[in-house]
């Protein structure tokens, strides 16, 4: 092969390598960008008067007098729409039955959409579920609902080779000749005066409990559950892991027993996370009966054995990287081995041990599979500290799955799901970032 081709191959090889890294960076961006942008939308959005009503009724927040003024203002505009509905109702009654049928289905859809926007219409019975007691709390969702009001979605089945495509048909012509036809342009033009949207920072998303299966409210129970589980896991795993690492580095003799133990450590590191969940169910709950059924205790124990190998490995590395001169100097001054470990080696290795601990904390917070069978429930209030031994808890990781896949109205609460994912990803990435910074400071200290 001549030199030119070899050089070309060399350059393209370099390009391939750099390309892979660029693709990984892009992938990271592509995954994080929607999560961050839409997750922030759960906290910062244009809230409508319905949301302010909700906050005032359920959480007793906000200026009551200001709210009353706003309600009066918006009611002024809503009343006209309600009057149009009333007039059409009377027209309907006077129509012959076949014409009534013609309008019935579309009219019901119009009323449902209006309820989704403004809340219960005059004449409706008091709804049981909280989600039906208020209209749209977010302006972006209100605009989507407005489309549902103004247009009907039909499906185009004409091309048999292709999946049916949806398309929109305006509702207004369907009501031509009746009084209802004026409702559509009226609502379209005056919706902002009926809902009075305003930018807000809903910090309650982090501190409130959820109302009616996450339709309203916040995600505090989930955040607290994740904190309980992760901190509980660390309480069990951290001391055990550090002590085991001390044994491996300082006391273990090279032999069959030690290599078996190290093998066991890496085996434990490789066990799939769902198998940890099965073990937690079979051992902690069904055999040891640490709690009657799911509980934070069982979940923490399961998570603890999952993160144990990582803590052991990181602590081992940290202890091994302490210069031998420290240990030799301490022993030379007459200290015992145990004293040396406690007063010289461990403090010197502490940053590295903490780095491993912080990364494991992030992992314990983010894992779902071990807690599915042992600790997690889908709905619930934030449990008190005294209940950790016996009751299960909602958790960010489990509830993200639950809201996205199993929830009855998953498509309507997307913003809550994004908010949860953002919360979880933020917690984990912050922990990892602090570990990276810690490690950079350690390597600087060791070099200099």
């Amino acid at each position: 092969m001549n030199l030119g081709t070899r050089k070309l191959l060399d350059r393209s090889f370099t390009a391939l390598g750099i390309g892979s890294i660029v693709i990984m960076g892009l992938a990271l961006l592509v995954v994080l960008a929607p999560i961050v942008s839409k997750g922030v939308g759960a906290l910062v959005f244009r809230e409508t008067i319905e949301h302010r009503k909700l906050l005032s009724t359920e959480f007793h927040r906000g200026d009551a007098r200001e709210l009353e003024k706003e309600i009066a203002l918006s009611n002024g505009y809503r009343q006209k729409a309600f009057d149009m509905l009333a007039v059409f109702d009377r027209e309907l009654e006077q129509m012959p039955p076949e014409r009534q049928e013609q309008y019935r289905e579309s009219y019901d859809q119009v009323k449902t959409a209006l309820r989704g926007l403004l809340g219960p219409l005059p004449g409706d019975t008091d709804p049981e579920l909280a989600r039906n007691r208020y209209g749209q709390t977010r302006w972006d969702k209100a605009e989507e609902k407005l489309r549902e009001l103004l247009y009907e979605q039909k499906w185009d089945y004409s091309n048999p080779d292709v999946i049916a495509k949806p398309y929109d048909v305006s509702r207004a012509p369907g009501f031509a000749g009746t009084s209802l036809v004026r409702l559509f342009p009226y609502v379209e033009q005056n919706l902002d005066k009926m809902l009075l949207p305003e930018w807000t920072f809903y910090w309650g998303f982090i501190t409130d409990s959820s109302i009616d299966a996450h339709f309203f409210g916040g995600i505090w129970p989930e955040i607290q559950g994740t904190l309980f589980l992760a901190i509980g896991a660390m309480l069990f795993a951290f001391p055990l892991g550090v002590i085991a690492a001390v044994y491996f580095t300082e006391y273990a003799r090279d032999g069959f027993l030690t290599s078996m133990l190290r093998s066991a450590n890496s085996t434990l590191a490789g066990v799939p996370s769902i198998v940890f969940g099965l073990f937690g169910l079979a051992f902690f709950i069904n055999t040891l009966h640490v709690s009657e059924s799911k509980s934070v205790l069982a979940g923490s124990l399961t998570l603890a054995i999952m993160i144990l190998p990582t803590i052991i490995r990181a602590s081992e590395e940290a202890i091994l990287s302490v210069p031998k001169t420290y240990k030799e100097a301490s022993l030379g001054l007459g200290s015992t081995k145990w004293n040396t470990i406690m007063t010289v080696i461990l403090p010197a290795a502490l940053p590295g041990i903490l780095t491993g601990g912080v990364i494991s904390l992030g992992r314990a917070a983010g894992e779902t599979a071990p807690i599915i069978f042992t600790a997690a429930v889908s709905v619930g209030t934030a449990i008190g500290l005294g209940d950790v031994l016996s009751s299960p808890t909602p958790a960010l990781s489990w509830n993200i799955y639950n809201l996205a896949s199993e929830h009855e109205a998953a498509a309507q609460i997307r913003h809550v799901q994004y908010g949860m994912v953002l919360a979880l990803v933020t917690v984990v990435l912050l922990l990892n970032l602090s570990a990276v910074i810690l490690r950079a400071r350690i390597s600087k200290k060791l070099k200099g």
Binding site: M1, T5, R6, L9, D10, S12, T14, A15, L16, G17, I18, G19, S20, I21, M24, A27, L28, V31, P34, I35, I163, L240, I243, V246, Y247, Y251, L261, S263, A264, N265, T267, G270, V271, P272, S273, I274, V275, F279, A282, F283, N286, I305, L308, P309, W338, G362, G366, T368, A369, I372, I400, A404, S405, Q417, V421, L424, V428, L429, N432, L433
Partner: protein, 393 residues
Amino acid sequence: MQNSSDMIDDGASKQGRSSVFIVSARKRKLQKISQKSGEATLLLIASFVAIVVLFIFWFVARDAIPFFRIRGFQEFFTSSEWYPADDPPRFGALAIIYGSLMVTVGSALIAVPMGILASICLSDILPFNVRQYVKPVIEMLAAIPSVAYGFFALVVFAPLLQNSGGPILMWAWWLIATPFLLLMVIVASELLTSSIAKGAMKKTAHLGLNLILGALAVLLLYFVGNHLQGLMIMSGTNALNVSIILSFMALPTIVSVSEDALQAVGRDLREGSYALGATRAETIIKTVLPAASSGILAAVILGIMRALGETMVVWMASGNSSHIPDPWFNYLESVRTLTATIAGDMGEADQVTGSARFHVLFAMGLILLVVSFVSNLISERIVVRQRKVLSGQ
């Protein structure tokens, strides 16, 4: 090293005071006992890890074996009919095992080449300060919780695939295949004309081959691209979706362990190869990679294990339909994996703890456990063997 108590001993007795630094024989014995018992306690705590591993095997197997006792092995491994809720329930897990294999292989096909290339780039090509910025990116990829990946796969990626999957695949094909085909054309024409002596004939042959192969490559690009563009993806939650996301989850493992293996090869080998006039690419491919091959193999095994054992991504985005796809390589169909079945079916099976439905999930867990254990053993043996070879050289 002289015992310090001896020196102080002399000084104290010289001054006539009783020395508190003499350690009596009894005290020394006590010290030794407490030291030994302390060590024993530490050993106990350290062996906690081994005890846990044994317990995991024991308890998972204990709840898995009853299934095989009730239903036997044949149906589970050879039948594709998975209907655990039917009246005579059927537990044919072949399609589910196939689904696990399919997404694992798919993610390996993407992650292994990319991971090895990236680790080579990190260890040999990138300058040190750039490496300090790239490593956090890879660590962040590893740190993102699997639920977040699963959410992305379900809510962002699946609709994207479903609505415009064909064009996306076509663009991916063009972006990836064009540079490769270009390179192959140049190298192939070079190799084929290498036997001809230098001169005008060589130049014309070279040019001719370039044109012919180039035309073939363009035709290939065009036809495959067209076919891809016309693809209709029925459901965005399919094996392709899961494979792509899983590959990005397995990448950090492969990259970091491979990088360690590449670093362990050492500078001598590389410098020798450069001294003989090889380009960097030739050095890496012909010298460094073979030397680090066992470590890289271990890294690949670890990465594949990660993809096999992943639960949340597959549960949310694989479609969860237990059937073997129509042409067996059709990644655009929904599949079901072992991990997703365990996670999903346990909710219904939990109440009936004595039943085959509960035990079959443990049987699947046992399969996963055994496979991961064996792969771990293999990858450890490989690493140990490589360490012996490298230090023995």
